[in-house]
């Protein structure tokens, strides 16, 4: 039993086990919270299993106990511990029978022509290359940011606050422009970021929708390709559904390509901080983006 387990009376334990037997989820969760340590330690102490095997057994026992069915055998005739250890002992014996050692065979195999083949071919590891490239791009982006005028940089970073961090100099600038203390600005930025997080959740939902549509399209295509004997009406219905899904997906992808799935701070908020118009924010952003893009093009040519 766990060291910090609450002292349950016999009646309370009986009730808990009864509810587990009825499949009550919260009781099962509580039971595992209280007695996981027993499940793990029982085979270690009684059957001298290794810790690896005890882990294997723990997962096996959890899978067999979580439905609650095994708890129905507790009627309170014996003490809870006697009953529980009997259940665990039976589970260990079942586990041992189930866990037959997996057969082992050589990795070298031969095809019908008698040629030696490997189970799975080698795969080059390109992660390091990709990671280095990403670091290089990030560094260059930061450099491009540093090359911008302070006001433009603040407009850009504030707009894409969800993705970018503001430096001390930029926060000071915001403080001066908005006549607010640095502390106030920091708190407001944190709140703003929290709101932007919620928008990101919505964006993820839309991304998921694109994927779901893609999978649905694959499924319909498969149905159409597979069955040549479809009734005329059914084929038409599937084709209409396929067309609709393509359109829905295209609309969403267009929105994504236009940057609608990017989390942006509303221009109104940015304008308010800097004491400029929303149009001013929009124009500054276009200029900044053009400049950064140009910078990247030149850099790409040099690489």
């Amino acid at each position: 039993m766990t060291a910090n387990m609450p002292n349950l009376s016999s009646e309370e334990i009986f009730d808990l086990v009864q509810k587990c037997g009825e499949g009550d989820l919260s009781s099962l969760e509580l039971f595992f919270e209280l007695y996981s340590q027993d499940i793990y330690n029982f085979p270690l102490k009684v059957f001298h299993l290794t810790e690896d095997d005890a882990s294997d057994f723990f997962i096996y026992a959890f899978e067999r106990l979580k439905s609650g069915k095994k708890f129905k055998s507790f009627f309170g005739k014996s003490s809870f511990k006697t009953w529980f250890f009997s259940v665990l002992r039976n589970l260990v014996i079942d586990w041992k029978r189930t866990k037959r050692e997996l057969k082992i065979q050589s990795i070298i195999r031969y095809n019908k022509e008698g040629e030696e083949i490997l189970g799975i071919e080698d795969e080059p590891d390109t992660r390091e290359v990709i990671r280095n490239e990403a670091l290089e791009i990030t560094e260059h982006f930061q450099e491009a940011m540093r090359g911008l005028k302070l006001e433009n940089r603040v407009i850009f970073k504030l707009t894409f606050l969800y993705y970018l961090h503001m430096e001390e100099e930029e926060i000071n600038f915001l403080s001066q422009k908005s006549n607010k203390s640095i502390d106030e600005i920091q708190i407001e930025l944190l709140r703003l970021r929290e709101e932007l997080c919620n928008r990101e959740v919505e964006n993820i939902r839309m991304e998921d929708k694109i994927t779901a549509l893609y999978l649905a399209i694959l499924e319909i295509q498969e149905k159409l390709e597979r069955v040549n004997t479809l009734k005329k009406g059914e084929r038409e219905r599937l084709e209409i559904s396929l067309r609709k899904k393509y359109e829905q997906r295209k609309r969403l992808i267009d929105r994504k390509l236009k940057g609608h799935f990017l989390v942006k701070t509303p221009y109104k908020v940015v304008a308010k901080y800097l004491g400029i118009t929303e149009g001013g924010v929009s124009v500054s952003l276009v200029r900044v983006i053009e400049k950064v893009q140009k910078n990247f093009r030149n850099w790409g040519d040099l690489r």
């Binding site: 039993m1 996981s36 499940i39 067999r64 002992r89 590891d125 998921d208």
Partner: protein
């Protein structure tokens, strides 16, 4: 029949040295050979012996558990707690690949695998992704789904907290597409390579579902990394 080694028989000396945990100063090859054979047989007998399931053994085990209860308990590893917490709502698993990440490698929970169709493949390790591997850092399994469909799974712990999985299908009707979902959420969809393989790197703790598809059929399997 053991060959008698003569008046200078050293069998007692061998046993005495072991009991006293002293170094073995035995120079009789026959005595030593006899002893090693005896030791090997004893160990094999102990290993192959099934646990007793009679009433007396049951009472003894339960008594032992009662006496030792709460004494010197080892804490349950965090990843096992997490597994339990996240799997209350899922159906009981009877054939699932569960991989437990450990500090020094990885462990495949084999009790949830259907031993009649899974085989661990060992031998000369494939040069996985150019990484040199140590024992316990990788496993290769073969799953024979039916006579026309076999999967190979290569599981490698490449760095702390991350697993690389490579799956290759041997099928009469080649698979075209493979999709990977994590915790019910779609992650990616790939074209299966010409030789029937798909590779996934950087898999972290979570529940994965991998589905191979072609025009006629699909085959999916569940993988839990804990």
């Amino acid at each position: 029949m053991t060959k008698y080694c003569g008046e200078n028989c050293q069998r007692d000396l061998v046993l005495e040295s072991i009991l006293k945990e002293e170094s073995w100063n035995v120079d009789c090859a026959i005595c030593m050979e006899d002893f090693l054979r005896f030791e090997e047989t004893t160990v094999q007998c102990l290993l192959s012996q099934d646990w007793l399931d009679d009433e007396f053994s049951q009472k003894l085990d339960i008594r032992k558990a009662m006496v030792l209860n709460g004494k010197g308990d080892l804490p349950v590893p965090d990843n096992l707690f997490r597994y339990a917490k996240n799997h209350f709502n899922s159906p009981e698993k009877s054939n699932q690949l569960v991989i437990s990440l450990k500090h020094n490698g990885l462990q495949v929970i084999t009790s949830l695998l259907d031993a009649s169709r899974w085989v661990e493949v060992v031998g000369f390790p494939v040069a996985f992704r150019g990484t040199s591997l140590e024992t316990g850092q990788y496993f290769v399994f073969e799953e024979k789904v039916d006579k026309d469909l076999t999967f190979f799974y290569q599981i490698v712990k490449e760095k702390p907290g991350e697993v690389y999985l490579s799956v290759k299908a041997y099928s009469q009707e080649p698979f075209r597409q493979v999709t990977l979902k994590k915790d019910g959420r779609f992650l990616l969809s790939l074209q299966v390579s010409e030789d029937g393989a798909a590779h996934f790197s950087g898999l972290k703790v979570g529940d994965y579902s991998i589905e191979f598809r072609n025009d006629l059929t699909s085959k999916s399997f569940e993988l839990a990394i804990v």
